[in-house]
Amino acid sequence: MKTPRIVNAIGHIDDDLINSATKSKKVAKKNIWIKWTSLAASFVVIIIVAAVAVPTLFGDGNTTLPVVSGDNTTINNSESATPTTNDNGATTAPTVNQDTTHINNAEPTTSGGNDNTTTATNNDSTTKPVLGHEAVLSEAYFYNVSEGVFSTYILCGKVISEDKIGSKIDDVSVSAGWKNNANEWLTTETLRAEVYLINDISKDVAVALKFIDKGDALTTTHYYVIMNPEADLTPVKDYLIRPLEPNNAGDEVAGEVVKNELAEEYVVEYTTQFVNE
């Protein structure tokens, strides 16, 4: 075989080129691991920033009322809302009865997924915001067990899924109906309901109601949590529609539900979560 001329020709290239090629240093290898780790870290930072800045992206699935703004906004939807299940298995109650509820809002509100922005009735005849919530209902649906040991229980829990329900322990009669701002009954109805234990929760703390009769703002298919306001509600704090707020400025709840802190105002506020579908 004869060596091609170009092979010999390359033997005549400049000495500097040969020098440069022999002295070429290793290029620092790009570390793929560092590259991808940096990318992942950046992504995590973005997620965290987004979570802080836009909490609605990371909501717990609780149903929130429509955001309203301006004065005397009226929500007028004939369609009823359906309960939704959140991450911890609890389900929020259907939203407000949109045929009859009027929301009087002093200032525009924003709705956050973790904040369960809700509306509430006032016991006073004057309209005022309740516990940091700017929206106030002029009418709300209430119910309570008519008599027996559960008659003192209040309705401040979420609607929970059936897998958290234990055995049936009682049949009760429930008084229900709509109240106005002045705490006057606008309508009343008597409904039959079954009382069920909640798994891992003492009946002295909370139980679930399943209605046999369909109410104006209650279904016969969901389990509604009612709680004993005298009990330590820590075991059922996850079932509260919204964590309790300190009664006084400066108090810290720190995730703990302090006994006897269930003010009437609180009860009223969350009562409005339990309205018809």
């Binding site: 060596t3 091609p4 001329r5 005549h12 070429s24």
Partner: protein, 184 residues
């Protein structure tokens, strides 16, 4: 030892010159020879012939770049030896390199009255227009006959990247040589 001092030893006909050359460039020379011949004994002989060649060339020659001067001698001796040797003893890798280069400028397409030195200068001019890593990869492949794998390791490139670099450089060199009128 500094290259200029080694050259002075050659001029003084001091046989320490060969010893110093061996110490400084023996390994490099052996690598070039082995890349071409793929045989240890043949490579060793070529390297020894290189020392003799350098001894005979200096003086009167006083190379500006002693390293490339030694490498050129080794390369030329190894290629001559490769021609002389039987085909089955040749390195498959160097054959691939040679075949790739032949595709750039086949012998039959050389323009008349163009010498290898002229082509070498044109190739140098072309390589100076290329990026440093492209240039160095090309020289490592076609001057030193390093394998693709060795080049990839040396430059921390993937083998496919090295192949691609060489492919595009060869094509560009071919276009350049046609443009310069040395390939017909």
């Amino acid at each position: 030892m500094d290259d200029s001092k080694i050259i002075e030893l050659y001029f003084e006909r001091d046989d320490r010159a060969i010893k110093e050359t061996q110490i400084k460039y023996g390994k490099l020379c052996h690598k070039i020879a082995y890349n071409i011949l793929n045989n240890y004994e043949d490579s060793e002989e070529c390297v020894n012939d290189t020392y003799v060649g350098v001894w005979n060339a200096i003086p009167p020659t006083r190379p500006n770049n002693f390293m490339s001067f030694v490498c050129k001698i080794t390369r030329n001796l190894s290629l001559k030896r490769l021609e002389f040797m039987k085909r089955e003893k040749r390195s498959a890798d160097v054959l691939v390199s040679i075949h790739e280069l032949e595709g750039v400028l086949p012998d039959e397409r050389y323009a008349a009255d163009v010498s290898d030195e002229d082509i070498g200068k044109l190739i140098s001019d072309f390589l100076y227009t290329q990026k440093e890593d492209v240039r160095n990869v090309f020289i490592r492949r076609y001057y030193f006959f390093d394998s693709i794998k060795e080049i990839a390791v040396e430059f921390s490139f993937s083998e496919s990247k090295v192949k691609n670099m060489l492919f595009y450089t060869r094509n560009k060199l071919k276009d350049y040589l046609i443009k310069e009128g040395v390939e017909i």
